[in-house]
């Protein structure tokens, strides 16, 4: 696959604060690439630099051969942005929102009308066509943001936490639509703090923390490398740690204490399973490893504020 985005030594500072600290990454054409990280990790700042609404402090980004910060209008013309915040035009109806927005991309009126009708159907908002934005639910607003981002038939879609605050139905609908677009060959960039979302959508991802990239890879590969296949959680007082680590440690390749819970990470859970039954501990959970474990291991299990 061809590289569509190449970022080198990308840095962004706001006065004293360094939000992004010299990161480099490559995004391939047609893949879904995720930026994972807690609040303030620099994900949104990074994608804002990609689609040219935030000037780059230093470093470079090439988007499909175009230089960010220089060819801004061209990059924006080929990009669809699903923003984190709901930035719909409250004074206009659903239909008008789409039609007015298509003007900004120089889409001829007849074509704009055609795409608007198609896209409103694509996000299942036909019934709300002539409603004002204030009459929509949050889920509907987010769906309209997806439709709006597709008006210019973008080669690149940037979805910045696209499902924040949605109920499961609305969330799944948005995931399905994004997967559909990816299957049609669109490159997708996703920022999220929902691990399930990243696991559902991303081919490759980076975990960001404090403006740096901690790890890069596919979700499966990251889980395997960092955690293994399975996780055992034991809710028990910390005094028991030495004893449990001596007993269970040989079956795991890592352990971690966080709050009231002791975690063991293992590649093969059968050994530890047997031992657990022997020890007959209350309050244990034995489950497959997830991206969330990777995330928490890398960025720390304590609260980030």
């Amino acid at each position: 696959m061809e590289t569509i985005i190449r970022a080198e030594n990308l840095t962004k500072t706001f006065g004293e604060l360094a939000a992004v600290k010299g990161i480099s990454f490559e995004i391939r054409e047609g893949e879904c690439f995720g930026f994972l990280g807690p609040n303030g990790a620099g994900k949104t700042t990074t994608v804002r630099m990609i689609h040219c609404v935030s000037p780059i402090t230093s470093g470079t980004i090439l988007v499909d051969g175009l230089t960010a910060n220089v060819d801004n209008r061209k990059i924006k013309a080929m990009t669809g942005v699903i923003p984190q915040e709901i930035t719909l035009d409250n004074d206009l109806t659903v239909f008008e929102n789409m039609m007015v927005f298509s003007k900004f991309f120089d889409i001829p009126r007849r074509e704009a009308r055609k795409r608007t009708v198609e896209l409103i159907a694509f996000v299942e908002l036909e019934a709300k066509r002539d409603n004002k934005i204030s009459e929509l639910s949050t889920g509907m607003k987010r769906r309209l943001l997806v439709a709006r981002a597709l008006l210019n038939k973008p080669a690149l879609i940037i979805a910045d936490e696209p499902t924040t605050g949605l109920d499961p139905q609305a969330r799944h609908l948005i995931w399905q639509r994004l997967r559909l677009l990816k299957n049609q060959g669109t490159t997708l960039i996703l920022t999220t703090q929902y691990m399930e979302e990243a696991q559902q959508l991303c081919d490759r991802l980076v975990v960001m923390y404090e403006g740096k990239i901690l790890k890069e890879g596919s979700p499966r590969q990251l889980i395997d490398d960092e955690i293994g296949r399975e996780v055992v959680e034991i809710r028990i007082a910390a005094e028991e740690d030495p004893r449990l680590i001596a007993e269970l440690g040989p079956f795991a390749h890592g352990h971690e204490r966080a709050g009231d819970t002791l975690f063991f990470y293992c590649r093969d859970g059968r050994g530890i399973q047997k031992k657990l039954i022997e020890l007959d501990l209350p309050n244990t959970v034995h489950r497959p490893a997830t991206l969330e474990d990777v995330f928490l291991k890398l960025t720390g299990r304590s609260l980030i504020e």
């Binding site: 609404v53 801004n72 924006k76 013309a77 915040e85 930035t87 206009l92 007015v100 991309f105």
Partner: protein, 256 residues
């Protein structure tokens, strides 16, 4: 570095589409105020004032009030209107994610402010028309339209500078109470500046409204004193400066 394009007019168009929902209330608002000024000052007070250098008071008053209504409309649109779009509705954020640049978006809204000013001024002219006051000729009337757009752009851009610094709505009070309102009373809109002390006359020369009113009066009456050139130069220079500065400031605020 300015990055202005024809896309400003697309932003203007967006405002036009949304305006159709507010057109009646804003027209009523724009109409009531001028009628109020003209009736109270023009007819009520004018009755006691006799002639003003060979003109009726109403003839003196109309060109001034017309230009101040342009100032008011453009100013409020670019203060409150722009602030709501920037902070509450995040409209600029969605605009600048398209090929529309920050400068396009802001200039489109300044043009919009000027258009709102033109509507207010135009209504004012129509009301004055029914009271028997009109520009000296049809071309003069059209020239007034152009003047209103220019003055609207100037005050719109000035207001954008204020908006670019504003942390909240209350901040606008400094500008409206300390700059706009004094300007309304010390720019020779309601009475000539002749009887003011010298320092006040000098101060008035620094107020853009003073110059705008002078030009408006000249165009209305068809009598152009030599000083009109100076008035126009002042307005053009100030418009250019505040436009460049206002667009630059707003860009800094919008693109971080």
């Amino acid at each position: 570095m300015m990055n202005l394009s024809r896309r400003s007019f697309l932003v203007f168009y967006r405002n036009l589409v949304s305006y159709k929902r507010f057109v009646i209330p804003t027209l009523v608002g724009s109409l009531v105020q001028p009628v109020f000024y003209l009736v109270t000052f023009g007819i009520g007070m004018g009755a006691y004032m006799g002639e003003f250098g060979g003109k009726t008071y109403l003839l003196f008053l109309v060109p001034g009030v017309l230009i101040s209504s342009v100032m008011m409309s453009a100013t409020f649109e670019c203060l409150y209107g722009a602030f709501v779009k920037m902070i509450h509705e995040k409209l600029y954020d969605s605009l600048i994610a398209t090929p529309v640049s920050a400068e396009d978006a802001v200039f489109g809204d300044i043009l919009w402010g000027a258009f709102r000013g033109l509507i207010s001024g135009g209504l004012m002219m129509a009301v004055a028309f029914f009271m028997g006051v009109f520009p000296v000729s049809l071309p003069a009337g059209l020239l007034l339209g152009l003047l209103m757009v220019l003055i609207g752009i100037m005050f719109g851009a000035l207001a954008m500078i204020v908006t670019s610094y504003a942390p909240n709505f209350d901040f606008f009070n400094y500008y409206t109470e300390l700059v706009v309102t004094p300007m309304l009373f010390f720019s020779g809109v309601f009475f000539p500046l002749d009887n003011f002390p010298a320092w006040m006359k000098t101060l008035a020369q620094f107020m853009p409204l003073t110059h705008a009113v002078e030009i408006s009066r000249a165009v209305y009456s068809g009598v152009y004193p030599k000083s009109v050139i100076f008035n126009l130069a002042f307005i053009l220079a100030l418009t250019a400066i505040v436009l460049v500065f206002g667009l630059g400031r707003m860009k800094k605020r919008l693109i971080k």
